[in-house]
């Protein structure tokens, strides 16, 4: 019998199976919106061709004695019509053993990933490759570029490697403790609910505002989230003045020059502390900019990664049985995890549309899955002159997106919003 392809989980992925349960998993969704309706049969053929190029996606999660590992799935993943709320946990009944899904709905091709497989950059490479292959099968002359991988070439070692193990890390440990953080008062929805508000914003207008403040677009958006949360906190009758903190994932690929298709990102957590006094928006921009300038350097990020990687190297941890590790990790995550952040902003950045598909792909969309804590998370991706900012929340209130988008409108930036709440109207 042929030995199945298997590999260890990368450092970032080790957390996710331990904290996943039947009602919650760390997921994200990437969508390509086309100009024409999607043909499911052609999409299935495109998926069959694409999945071979991504051996680290076509896997299932298996439990070993001490650690989880990923193993090749012999089955065929089928595309499905999109229904219900996105980013729901995987179930063996619906999804088989796969850890990602492909949906079609009208003009949209959507892929949902369990974070154990990859991060947003890896997911986007998969979606782009799938979309290009689909358009090729539809008879269009589209080439595999702008992040789409050529399916005629075999996967490289770099793409399948655990990047956390292949970089030189300093022998240091940094303090990871985070102070209690303010959460906007909210009414949690029942599990398996994910409200989406997607806003389309002209990139040039937003960039101009960011440049006026001498900050990058990610810093500007982070400052906007902090400012909006700060305004919500000011109106909070309970008068809690805990710090406001936004978790911002950082893509490490460009920093270390590694093009892995697996997880390779870290986090920085810019914050403001309203107990110290009042903040203006300009001040928040400066705080975020200075924080990022200090923490988004290779040295600081390496130190953070080294701390995470060193945990799994302790002999006691390595020898602890898997169920014990799960128990400890999940209990630690329940007490900390998302609870230490007011919100999350994941910005993929500007992504190019493959050559020949400029008039065939309308936009890309990025969505974070159901947050663990009752908060509203943001994800954004820009293509062409459109920045698509998506808010995903498992709470009833819309305070954060309302304040943030109204602020943009007041600044003179036009905002168009869509949502998945039409049925409630």
């Amino acid at each position: 019998m042929a030995q199945k392809f298997w590999f260890k989980l990368d450092n970032a992925a080790k957390l996710y199976p331990a904290i996943a349960n039947r009602s919650w998993m760390s997921m994200f969704r990437l969508t390509a919106e086309l100009e024409e309706n999607v043909d499911p049969q052609v999409l299935q053929s495109a998926l069959d061709d694409t999945i071979r190029r991504f051996p680290t996606m076509n896997v299932r999660l298996r439990a070993g004695l001490f650690w989880y590992y990923l193993e090749e799935v012999p089955a065929r993943l089928l595309v499905r019509p999109d229904e219900g709320h996105p980013c729901m946990p995987f179930s063996s009944k619906r999804d088989g053993s796969f850890l990602f899904r492909v949906f079609y709905f009208g003009k949209r091709i959507s892929t949902e990933f369990f974070h154990v497989l990859t991060d947003a950059s890896g997911g986007l490479a998969f979606l782009k490759t799938l979309t290009v292959r689909y358009l090729q099968l539809m008879g269009h002359d589209v080439s595999f570029d702008q992040g789409a991988l050529d399916i005629t070439t075999p996967p490289t070692e770099e793409e399948t490697q655990d990047a956390f193990r292949s970089i030189d890390l300093p022998k240091v440990r940094i303090n990871r403790s985070v102070e209690k953080t303010y959460h906007i008062p909210s009414t949690p929805e029942i599990p398996h609910t994910l409200h989406i508000i997607a806003a389309s914003i002209p990139c040039d207008a937003l960039l101009q505002k960011a440049h006026e403040m001498n900050v990058t677009l990610t810093e500007y958006l982070t400052a906007l989230i902090l400012h909006s949360a700060y305004l919500c906190q000011q109106q909070d009758l309970k008068k809690h003045r805990f710090p406001l903190r936004v978790s911002v994932p950082v893509n490490l690929r460009s920093l270390y020059g590694i093009g892995t298709m697996r997880n390779f990102s870290s986090f920085v957590n810019p914050f403001i502390d309203p107990r110290l006094g009042e903040y203006t928006f300009e001040e928040i921009c400066r705080c975020v900019h200075n924080y990022m300038a200090w923490h988004c350097t290779k040295k600081q990020l390496s130190a953070a990664i080294a701390t995470n990687v060193s945990d799994e190297k302790y002999l006691v941890i390595r020898l602890a049985p898997l169920f014990l590790k799960n128990l400890v990790i999940s209990s630690v995550f329940r007490r900390s995890g998302d609870l230490h952040f007011t919100s999350t902003l994941s910005n993929i950045g500007r992504t190019g549309i493959p050559a020949g598909a400029e008039k065939l792909i309308r936009r890309f969309e990025f969505l974070l899955g159901v947050p663990y804590a009752p908060v509203c998370n943001c994800a954004c991706i820009s293509s062409g002159n459109e920045l698509r900012l998506t808010f995903s929340r498992n709470i009833h209130e819309t305070a954060l997106p309302r304040t943030l988008l109204s602020t943009l409108v007041e600044m003179g930036i036009p905002v168009t919003v869509d949502s998945n709440d039409q049925e409630d109207s």
Binding site: E33, G84, V417
Partner: protein, 234 residues
């Protein structure tokens, strides 16, 4: 495309109301393109939680039904008639209803729990009155007394959850409400036993009223409030 008059954002083609503030915005002159399809699925599949709820309620029902039926069976086999087992059987059935209904309801769980518990308790006590043949005590004493208590609990819960009043004012209001309910219950008991006097409630009413008036006075007087804050650092 319509704009939200409240938030100023432009609404997507499929939005009938602003997703941010839920203000209905309609552009009567809007011409929808023929191929305008919704961006997201509008059909929500059956939620896992609903399934979990259903399984839990079925399992819980079976767990309660077994002892309930066992009681009936033992009673019938030993006594030849349903006598004492009716109390156990009804209690278990009403307990199931009191727990199952609030679990099934998604919103306002606290209020539903209180009201369902109240209704079930009333039904049980009425059944006890009918079966035990111990005289007429349900309508004159139990129904108004327990109704007053549940109303008190509902009002306090509502005031606390809605944060209509400040902490001190809420404490004062609760004390006054407790004092009033105590007087009402005392009156009910007196009427039931044939008396026409308040027996114990004045001893509760007077201190409650005094403390709540004191709270309102301190709360309304900035100088005293500041003095207390200065001395206690609260």
């Amino acid at each position: 495309m319509a704009y939200c008059v409240h938030c100023g954002v432009k609404l997507g083609l499929n939005e009938k109301q602003c997703p941010l503030c839920h203000t209905v915005s309609i552009d009567p002159h809007e011409e929808r393109p023929a191929d305008s399809a919704p961006l997201y699925p509008t059909h929500t599949p059956e939620q896992l939680l609903t399934r979990s709820k259903r399984y839990f309620l079925i399992l819980f029902g079976i767990l309660l039904l077994v002892p309930a039926l066992l009681c009936l069976l033992v009673d019938l086999l030993i006594g030849g008639a349903v006598t004492w087992s009716i109390y156990a059987f009804t209690a278990l059935v009403l307990l199931y209803i009191a727990i199952a209904v609030p679990i099934w309801v998604d919103h306002h769980k606290t209020y539903f729990s209180l009201i369902t518990g109240y209704v079930c308790l009333m039904l049980y006590l009425k059944m006890v009155e009918c079966v035990s043949d111990s005289g007429q005590w349900f309508f004159p004493i139990v129904l108004p007394g327990v109704t007053l208590l549940i109303l008190l609990t509902l009002v306090i819960t509502h005031l606390y959850r809605r944060q209509i009043l400040g902490k001190f004012t809420l404490l004062g209001a609760i004390l006054i409400l407790i004092a009033i309910v105590c007087v009402a219950v005392d009156l009910l008991l007196s009427l039931y036993t044939g008396g026409h006097m308040l027996v114990w409630s004045p001893f509760v009413f007077a201190p409650c009223l005094f403390i709540s008036l004191l709270i309102f006075f301190i709360n309304g007087n900035r100088t005293i409030r500041e003095e207390i804050r200065r001395r206690t650092h609260f």
